[in-house]
Amino acid sequence: MELSPMIKIYKEPDLKNSYLIAGFPGPGGVGLGVASYLNRLGAEKFCEIEAYKFSSMPRSVIKGGVMEELEFLDNEFSYWKSKGENDLIIFKSEQPTFKKHEFINLALDVAEKFRVKRVYTSSGLIRPVRHTKEPWIFAAANKPELKEYLENFNLLPIKTGIGLTDLNAVLVGSARERNIEGVCLFSEVPVYVAPLPNPKGVKSILKLLSKMLSIDIDLVELDRFIKQMDQEMEKLYENLPEDTKKTFVESVESEAKLISDLTEAEIENLFMEAEKDPSEFRISKLGTKLYSSGLFPKYEDRFFKLIQKKR
């Protein structure tokens, strides 16, 4: 198979029945956090995509006063040979800003070359919950046969969701075109800390993955980070207005069955991005989504507050 010259392969490991675990930036940094942490298994880097045409924000790496490198988009593929049935390829990447579709397809080209059978991604699902709650995990697959497989793990199924932009979800959708199985796992992320790293979410996904993939992952390092972040999140929670606090639910099992649609989570994503970058483009995008989903009146106050802030 002829690969694009943008794909740089340093080594061609002999992998059997490999699964791809991929992580892009997203709410709570869950996807990227999971992929990064898995590298601790002792994974070795073997490939990367030369990404100058996919990024509008290059960084320079300066060592000892000399600019050594111009980094456009940090990304890497590493591999880990397991003692069990499936070897792992781990792909983590920063967020591409241009030609995302092409970038995702380059990653899948690498997956195809190494005959990946299935791809797992993860991300955060922004919800009005407290940070002290043990995050639930929601799941969606890209093939009907996988739905049964997912039932074995007591996950909350996602039934619908329109227009998801999270690349962790997009990768699984694109994999479907290549006939590669795919699963996207979403861990709950509280709305008031969505832009912050969420190690609790990362841990819950890793615990699940260790069961799904039959691998042992030492999660002790994460516990320290969780304690640290819990303190920060507690401060942010305390600063919320009282009536907002009241709307956040604790664990209510019956409510879980009602969350089968990701549209509101996607709206939270768009709010998060518009709050970070209140440009006309992002505000219009959010407004259009609110109207097309019929949810404008529900978010009206919040939307207009955002516009006023912009002024």
Binding site: K99, E102, G163, T165, V172, C184, F296
Partner: protein, 263 residues
């Protein structure tokens, strides 16, 4: 024609066509007016601009399964005019991010150049504070002298004359396409319709109809806009019903004795 990122299903022979280009914008004026005209004329789809380099992929989950990525569309249509200039439409259902606006506009100008487009038409809303009683007016903004004379001939006032202002802006593709076309020697007209500030973020506005009427008049077409008026009225009613649904919930929460603006 082999143009990268452009897919043509056929190559119609067009005589000095005008390009009518529209994307979502304030009050959805351009998109609604131009889509309506496109539909009423029964313009034929003949191609599209491939979205992969200009838009982000999105996926939907249906019945528990993540589907293949979907993209916004920028479709090309044409209509042969027995009594005047042929028309080409470029209708986009989403704005690209600001970094991609110029690139997309330039690609569309590639198509325009190939078909020897004579002039580009777009539309925008001119937001005014307060309510608008009576007729909403339409003004023109041009990028070349010929278009200026054309508007004068058809009795459309220039925005600068009507509002006595030196500067205005058109955000997004409805503006950028005019600039990109002008750079490559194709002049253009933007029809600005008056709109109350409150309607700027709404997806329905009466301004779409006045803009469509003006466009029909200056292009000397025979198209009725009664259906467009009904579409807009119905749309506004649905928005009000949506809001009312939430207002009713609010009333329930706070019990009787709450005052609402019922008139």
């Amino acid at each position: 024609m082999k143009l990268k990122q452009v897919k043509l299903y056929k190559e119609p022979k067009l005589e000095e066509p005008y390009l009518l280009a529209a994307w979502p914008g304030m009050g959805m004026v351009a998109l609604r007016a131009f889509s309506y005209l496109n539909r009423k004329l029964n313009a034929e789809e003949f191609g599209e601009i491939e979205p992969y380099d200009f838009f982000d992929p999105e996926v939907s989950i249906r019945d528990g399964l993540i589907d293949v990525p979907e993209f916004p569309e920028n479709k090309l249509f044409y209509w042969k005019n027995e009594k005047g200039n042929d028309l080409m439409f470029c209708i986009g259902n989403e704005q690209p991010s600001p970094e991609n606006e110029y690139k997309l506009a330039d690609k569309i100008v590639d198509v325009a150049k190939h078909f020897r487009v004579k002039r580009v038409y777009t539309s925008a809303a001119f937001a005014l504070g307060g309510h608008l009683l009576g007729e909403r007016r339409v003004f023109g903004v041009v990028t070349d002298r010929e278009s200026k004379q054309y508007l004068k001939k058809h009795r459309v006032m220039l925005l600068s004359e009507a509002m006595q202002m030196k500067e205005a802006g058109i955000s997004g593709m409805n503006g950028v396409i005019l600039g990109a076309a002008r750079e490559r020697c194709i002049g253009g007209i933007c029809l600005f319709g008056e709109m109350p500030e409150a309607e700027v973020r709404l997806p329905y506005s009466k301004t779409s109809k006045v803009v469509c009427d003006t466009l029909i008049r200056i292009l000397e077409l025979k198209v009725d806009t009664q259906e467009l008026e009904e579409e807009i009225t119905q749309g506004i009613k649905e928005l009000e019903q949506q809001s009312l649904r939430y207002t009713v919930d609010y009333k329930d929460l706070f019990g009787k004795g709450g005052k609402t603006n019922e008139h």
